[in-house]
Symmetry: D2
Subunit: 298 residues, 4 copies
């Protein structure tokens, strides 16, 4: 399939590479020339602009992977933006993580131009992007989901249809807010149990067979040494950075504000990660928040 | 085995009944005569006092199931309390949910008198007590755990050894604090996703295969209709009452205070349940806290 | 002085009227014709557009009073916006409450066009606007402050110079975040003391001569009956609406996010007011938040 | 007047000294001999036990200043405690800071023995104790207040009658909870304003004439350099220690739990100070909490 790909950063680059490896014909662009070069070497066509990607002859699908809503707006809705130049019928896929309201606004504008659009934010980090094991949370019409599913499946393992336009973003923001909360909950519970004299492994074992069980205790336990493969057991390197969690919690609390819904735990979690990041730890895996509870952070 | 059982309330009565059914000889006491009568009818020996239970001829084990630490102190340590009258060698088992510090203090006093003691708080509620499917979190020496295990197994399904004296209480308080936090997290995430336009079932499905997954979403989801057997789908009746969760969060934050450990999420969860209870909803299942987020509570 | 005034809502209308009464020549505009009519009747010149106000012959100063940052951007920076048409040298004054970043961006754009600009958000509510007793928090150069001060003094009593461009907004957002926090603190303290048996008036008296003293206890006490003139003593009508407090807390937490500064109490306060508003009480004075603590809200 | 004084720690010693200086005859006791010696040198009679103080010939009033509720219970209600030996008619005054429930329980027991009792906790710290400028918050009957007032006035400047027994403790716990909240609120607001570009002195000036005004901004501002005499301007030494604030917040949240009253801000404040103390800063003035917001703490 002929696919355009715009945005070749830490996530976009390995995702696009996986599409090339799967045999798709890619036209790619990124403002950083080195990123374009890397894809070009792998066999993709290096376009010279957003517009050039959109006007690639025979284009069937166009994927964007951008840092934030402002970039999505600019790339799609700006003067000379994608919607002004892309041929009708090209299926648009935005994999950026942005707020649901913007996702819906852009999708509606695309629809008016004659282009179907789905939002398809991912989870799984750069490791998942490289391994092709990302989770895609997809918002869009049934037929459009059917068209993108096989393409996304070359970049990810778990492709979930979440409903209409914007719902991919909704699912991601809701899931990650809960993740941000339960990680701190896990950190408080593990720290409390150990402070009161329990062995961390034994405590994790009890919780994981009880009602406190969660992904943050059984798969990604923040206490060092409990899970050999978790970031906690390698100095909180790699994994999902605190500043990325902060971005998602910012989207969640902003969405809650727009929906006038009280999210006291989500907002408190945001501030606790913010304090940790302000101390200079924004690059550590988010499970390192446990250090603020155990008194190890500085 | 000849077993004493003191405390025949909503939890203690069905627990003791399961021991009688399993063929154990029970001597029982409770200040409420009707509770004693119920066990007596089932075949237990009705004792007339705490002391009488302790002095039952040939007693091998003595189980207590009491409302709070003050009762445990009074029954064990008071003048004429259990430790003053129970023969050396009788194994003491306290299944009350109390703070770890008191549990350890009483166990140490028992040890000095020549009686081994384990703490064995339960989770699973009155339903689990009746069905014999409770979880017991046990703190005590290895040999003592080996002795109580077969007895507890007639009242529960999951008998977990958590380490030395008091660790059963530690495990319970840590697990339940995390449960209290993740339930509100689940309630915020489900409410936010639905407010932003997602179907509750679809959202739960996404979360349950993602990093937000927890017992509060996959087994006990607070959103009405997601899980047919959860309290949320029957008006939040039955289940684990808000006021019981409040008791456990009170134990958790007190233990954290003694340990000088910050538990911001645990403390906020406590206050949110407290507000809900103060509005008159302390008898509802704790997952009903979602009503304060969705704006349905009054 | 010849002054333009754009934005004649609940706040802008009485403010503009006070300028007319003070003898200034006003050219006014608002998209709602009735609002323009009211000023016209009082002696102002009714302009037919934003542009017409800006091009009033001999204009010396132009004041805007708009709902939110998006409106400020549109009115100043949009195509055909103020900056495109206003003559160099006219002093621009924005009294809207918006985020400091936008305020600084607009001021810098004005500067580039040859127009000095100050931000001058107010506090004091519609009552203060009518009585001419508003507080103005002004950000801008010393000379510009000197020029606006006598004009603002016809609409307010307290005209404070907070430093350079944007600092008026900074001062307001910081002050109001603290206000939002201390009001809930006052509500919790008053409710706790009364629940424990103290008379509300006596308790307020003690606090007001002690270290808990704050504007929310000595001037605007949230407990009914303590201060006869406070909203609490008239059913929480009038005053400063919960939804206005919510707007300001939203600005504060967004600014803190941009500055990467943890504001746990500010964020929690925001969510508590948000829950109260979601229950339908957004129109009540913000001190009514005490009802969620005393268990009176529904 | 002949007065007994039990408890000669950092607070009790200077308080007792002020009574001696005022010409009262004192009989004193403390388990630390050096403390007794200091008073004896100043002219007080050194008693050898709590009981000896109580049985001093001609005793009219007996004041206690003890660390916590457990000590108050032991000294008054224990076997051989004060109530067992003090002559009827001696007026009992407890200046310890404890929970209102215990204060009322001890006062009721005293009443049954024929001794009137008032609770009279103080604020003002060791500096106030030495200078005789403490604030006393007094709970007790009108006639008893009238009797203690002149005595307390030799140790303090502000003697406030808060209502019946226990109300002194209620007033203190309510006031100090609000203080703990508004100090963090002040710290967040000052830090936010400065991070956004304002001068700290100018910001404090604006807040102190606006609705954010509180004791924590106008008398004890936590930002270094704003008030030359505040602990913030001398490295947060002296003043009111973080661990003392923690003790009071513990009393407040426990009292709220007993009263089933949600105090979300009070509980969050407690955890924030707890985290600061756990990092080793419990001895710093509580306004140093601002360092956790500005990212200066380690």
């Amino acid at each position: 399939m002929k696919i355009g790909f715009i945005g070749l950063g830490n996530m976009g680059r390995p995702m696009a590479l996986n599409l090339v490896k799967a045999g798709h014909e890619l036209a790619v662009f990124d403002p950083v020339p080195a990123s374009v070069q890397a894809l070009s070497t792998a066999g993709a066509h290096a376009a010279t602009s957003v517009q050039a990607v959109a006007q690639t002859h025979g284009l069937e699908m166009l994927i964007t992977m951008l840092p934030a809503a402002a970039h999505v707006r600019a790339v799609y809705l700006g003067e000379d933006g994608l919607l002004a130049v892309v041929p009708k019928g090209v299926l648009l896929v935005d994999s950026s993580t942005i707020d649901p309201m913007t996702a819906r606004e852009v999708a509606a504008a695309a629809q008016r131009q004659g282009n179907a659009m789905v939002d398809a934010p991912v989870s799984g980090g750069t490791g998942g992007a490289e391994a092709g094991t990302l989770t895609f949370m997809v918002g869009g019409a049934d037929g459009d989901f059917a068209r993108v599913q096989p393409v996304l499946a070359r970049m990810g393992r778990n492709i979930v249809h979440c409903g209409g336009a914007g719902n991919g973003q909704v699912a991601k923001v809701a899931n990650n807010m809960l993740l941000g909360i339960s990680m701190i909950g896990a950190a408080e519970a593990m720290s409390l149990g150990v402070a009161l004299g329990m062995d961390a492994q034994v405590l994790a074992g009890v919780i994981n067979t009880s009602s406190g069980r969660c992904w943050s205790t059984d798969t990604y336990n923040p206490f060092p040494g409990v899970l050999p493969n978790a970031p906690a057991s390698r100095g909180y390197t790699g994994g999902f950075g605190t500043d990325l969690m902060l971005k998602d919690l910012g989207l969640a609390t902003e969405a809650a504000r727009a929906a006038k819904l009280p999210v006291a735990m989500g907002a408190l979690a945001q501030q606790l990660y913010q304090g940790f990041s302000a101390q200079g730890h924004g690059g550590l895996d988010f499970s390192a928040i446990i250090e603020t509870i155990r008194g190890k952070a500085a």
